[in-house]
């Protein structure tokens, strides 16, 4: 007779009476629910212990990476801070001397700042969008990389959102964009695409921040429960009193479902609106009906590339090789290749139409780009955005190589920045008035500020990596259990979904993802 106060040694031997078995016509999910609720289905206790081991290994790795600061980290931080400092000095210089210190002259009034604005908004796209699409499709391998992607979006948006303010020159008049009535009856001009930009970016940054924050709450609670002092107080504040009740999990899941559905159209609208900043003008090279989808896919292209860059750096820098596996890189490489093909299709559609149409302004623009002053930039863009992915990413060996993927993704982003430069600067230099043709050379403050924002992005990411878990602990743990729940019939089996299998070799967590 077993001791009633102790759990039986093996749950699987405990068989319930026959009447609790549900009728056979019930759905598999209903059957599983009824069976488990009455204790008919026994979950393997050994797997629970195994999962406990891999859970602890995951926590040790993730929290360990947050709690240690190496000399290399400090040196990189100092270097980045120095670059950001130079950028701030340059901005101060521009504010003091006026916008004339930049290279913005007729006919180019949107120079490096708006190029960088479009570039960073593009980078911001993929994090949230990739994460949301993978969540909607219930792709299991998304779990370790969603937070890395979502954080990227937030920081890229913060950086991108700075550029219109810097570009204003008199940055202190930014508040004129805020829709508050004043004594002169001057409300913002809602007809202006600039106003659309403000609202779209405001909505997107809010949605992206919350999309990052919601699934972070349980992990902040976990961090709260193992920290002390000021850190603990901060985590306690931001974890919203999380206790891990099933009501809270239920609410979190529902909230994430709502956000996932809402954030996708918001992301698409943001870059569409950015493209309309150009498309609503009459300028050749800008006025195009295909610009919205072209910008959206361009944003996803540069964003996926940036995500791969960040993945490789985080994987190596924080020793997450067991969780951000080579298979993740492989899959992201395939996504990058597919997006490269779509981007090329849209680019080619616009290029071919302009060329075949024979419009004199369009042909002159194409000549300047391909054979004139812009030719080096143009052919670099073609080489790295078209030739490079198609010549390399077909091969699994390349996709599975972190070093190769790092180089390819960085080069693609160089190419995408050039593409934005060709649009923003390369179009107005050959406008409809031939007497107004000109050129553009950025001033030193523009170069310093644009460079500083790259450093600022890295800086924000470094600080973030030491502040919150970069891998979503509960989602990874849930993923491991989802596999077991499927096998034991607790939840509906979806045979088309890859299985995440935790294997424990000598107590070391190895989260290999196998299809």
């Amino acid at each position: 007779m077993p001791d009633p106060l102790q759990p039986p040694p093996n749950w699987s031997v405990e068989q319930p009476p026959a009447p609790s078995i549900p009728p056979t016509e019930a759905s598999p999910e209903e059957e599983a629910r009824a069976l488990t609720a009455t204790g008919v289905v026994a979950l393997p206790a050994a797997t629970e212990a195994e999962l406990g081991t891999v859970d602890r290994a995951l926590e040790a790795r993730v929290f360990g990476s947050m709690e240690t600061i190496s000399i290399r980290y400090v040196l990189v931080m100092m270097l980045l801070l120095a670059i950001v400092g130079v950028g701030l000095v340059a901005w101060g210089w521009q504010l003091y001397h006026g916008i004339g210190v930049t290279g913005k002259r007729r006919p180019v009034f949107w120079g490096l700042y708006i190029t960088s604005f479009v570039f960073w908004i593009g980078i911001s796209h993929s994090g949230t969008l990739v994460s949301a699409i993978l969540r909607v499709l219930n792709v299991e391998w998304r779990r370790p990389l969603t937070r890395v992607a979502e954080a990227m979006t937030l920081f890229a948006l913060m950086i991108g959102g700075l550029f219109p303010i810097i570009h204003l020159g008199r940055a202190w008049r930014f508040y004129w964009m805020i829709p508050i009535p004043n004594e002169r009856g001057l409300w913002p001009n809602f007809r202006s695409p600039l106003m659309w930009d403000l609202l779209a970016i405001l909505t997107y940054i809010t949605a992206s921040s919350l999309f990052l924050f919601f699934p972070l709450v349980p992990d902040l609670a976990a961090a709260r429960d193992r920290s002390r002092g000021l850190r603990r107080r901060l985590y306690r504040m931001f974890s919203l009193g999380w206790r891990g009740t099933q009501q809270q999990w239920n609410r979190l899941h529902l909230g994430m479902r709502i956000f996932t559905i809402v954030v996708i159209p918001i992301a698409v609208s943001v870059h569409s609106i950015v493209s309309w900043d150009f498309g609503m003008t009459q300028l050749e090279g800008w006025h195009s009906t295909v610009f919205a989808p072209y910008f959206v896919i361009g944003a996803i292209y540069s964003g996926v590339a940036a995500l791969i860059t960040v993945l490789v750096v985080v994987r190596r820098g924080m020793h997450f090789e067991d969780y951000l596996t080579l298979r993740h890189l492989d899959r992201m490489g395939k996504v990058l290749l597919a997006v490269a093909a779509i981007w090329f299709f849209f680019w080619w559609a616009g290029f071919l139409t302009d060329w075949y149409g024979g419009n004199a302004e369009a042909k002159e623009l194409q000549r300047v780009h391909a054979f004139g002053a812009m030719a080096p930039l143009f052919w670099t863009m073609i080489a790295v955005n078209v030739a490079l992915p198609f010549l390399t990413l077909w091969f699994r060996r390349v996709r599975m190589s972190p070093a190769a993927m790092l180089v390819i993704s960085l080069l693609i982003n160089v190419g995408m920045w050039i593409e934005r430069f060709l649009i923003v600067v390369g179009s107005p230099i050959r406008n409809a008035l031939s007497f107004d043709w000109g050129s553009y050379r950025p001033g030193w403050p523009e170069v310093a500020i644009a460079s500083a924002t790259v450093a600022a992005f890295a800086l924000l990411y470094l600080v973030f990596s030491k502040t919150v878990p970069l891998i979503s602990l509960w989602e990874v743990k849930e993923g491991w259990r989802v596999d077991r729940w499927r096998r034991t019939g607790v939840i509906e089996v979806q045979s088309d979904v890859p299985v995440v299998e935790p294997s424990s070799a000598a107590g070391v967590a190895t989260a290999e993802v196998r299809a």
């Binding site: 102790q6 599983a32 629970e48 609208s269 743990k477």
Partner: protein, 173 residues
Amino acid sequence: MSERFVSVRVQGEQGVALALQALREIGVPRACIEVLSDVPLPEAVLGGAMKATKLRRFTFTGLVVGLATGVFFSIGTLFLYPVLVGGQPVYFAPPNIIIIYELTMFGIVAATAAGFILETRRVKGGPRPYWPAVSHGETHVVVEVPPDLVATRIRAALLARGAEPVEPEEQLP
């Protein structure tokens, strides 16, 4: 003074299922039971959905408020402060659709977030027992003792199914 909460530690999903079954058998209402874990448990383990959330209502309210704000900003202000430009209408639909769309989305996002934060932070009946070990893998069942039952009976029923008694380490909202 009678005990307000009975708390036990259980082993994995099987322990949860057994504890819930024991509580059902002695007539503890579902609303009085909380299962604390570091990962969300499937409904099959819990024997059905736990307490409903009002998050959808927040989302819908946000949609309505966002839409109304968008209409007011983009259309209302045009008539409040009309700018008459030769040959141009005071009201113009296409750009307003963008403004209304973005503000509606903003309303949905902001209200859903507000609902999530409010519902998570404001717990009816004040702070409740919590154990930091829950964040790191332990699973606990907390029962708010209903008026028609005594704590000792609930505890005995749970212990008989293999649960271990635990004392709360802290209180959280």
